[in-house]
Amino acid sequence: MSQNNKTHYQQLSSQMEPKRPLLINCFNAFWIGGLICVVGQCLQWFFIHYFDFNEQTAGDPTVAVLIILAILLTGLGVYDKFAQFAGAGTAVPVTGFANAMSSAAIEHRTEGFVLGVGGNMFKLAGSVIVYGTVAAFVIALIRTLLAQGGIAP
């Protein structure tokens, strides 16, 4: 009986769930995400032409500037308005990572600067760092062992 209720509930809830406008969401994510990357490309071009960076090293200041901009916009409350509209378009670029960290830090400041800001800053962004690091470790380990075994270049 309870099993029956459960499936009935799932049917009901999937009927009631608002249809996500997939095409429009994807379109918005595409052009806003693309635009953020073009801003990054402009910054990169700027750093290469006006400072002593090359294609390899220009990524660092570019990412740093994008992160600072995103944190400033988050503090002013602008980024989250964009994010509601753009979905993954603002979440996937590195600016979304900065937004996740700064909004967690600002939100929890009422709990104090050590337990609130310090303890919660990585609440949302932590999963990215943890999974990125573990995956990178495994992959680098495999590649290093293969290279030492003389199998891969």
Partner: protein
């Protein structure tokens, strides 16, 4: 021309993220974790570097490049110092991004009050 490819490739990576959220019904945290891991895997296979040559910031700005940079730093140090280099080098390249995010998030928490 690189600006156009940056727009297209960067936009497409965001669309993949949107599809994971809408069709795959993943939370944003799951989506970002999946993208970072795929960036790391693509770099392990030597593909991501070619994408960066081709699309510039279109490949370095999305969060997938974080995974790529983690593997890159680890591999660089590992070539010089052996296995221990993986541990010492993993944050070598991403350090500027993570440090900037921590430092300026902290400053933002000092300045701004939560809204709503």
């Amino acid at each position: 021309m690189i600006f156009l490819w940056a727009f297209i490739v960067g936009g497409l990576i965001c669309v993949i993220g949107q599809l994971l959220m809408d069709v795959g019904k993943l939370t944003p945290a799951h989506t970002l974790a999946a993208l970072v891991v795929s960036g790391a895997v693509l770099d392990g296979l030597g593909i991501y570097e070619r994408l960066i040559d081709f699309a510039g910031a279109g490949a370095t700005v999305p969060i997938t490049s974080f995974g790529n940079h983690l593997v890159h730093g680890a591999m660089q140090e590992a070539e010089e110092n052996g296995i221990i280099g993986i541990l010492t080098g993993i944050f070598e390249v991403t350090s500027s991004g993570i440090s900037a995010a921590i430092i300026f998030s902290f400053i933002a928490a000092l300045i701004f009050k939560p809204k709503g």
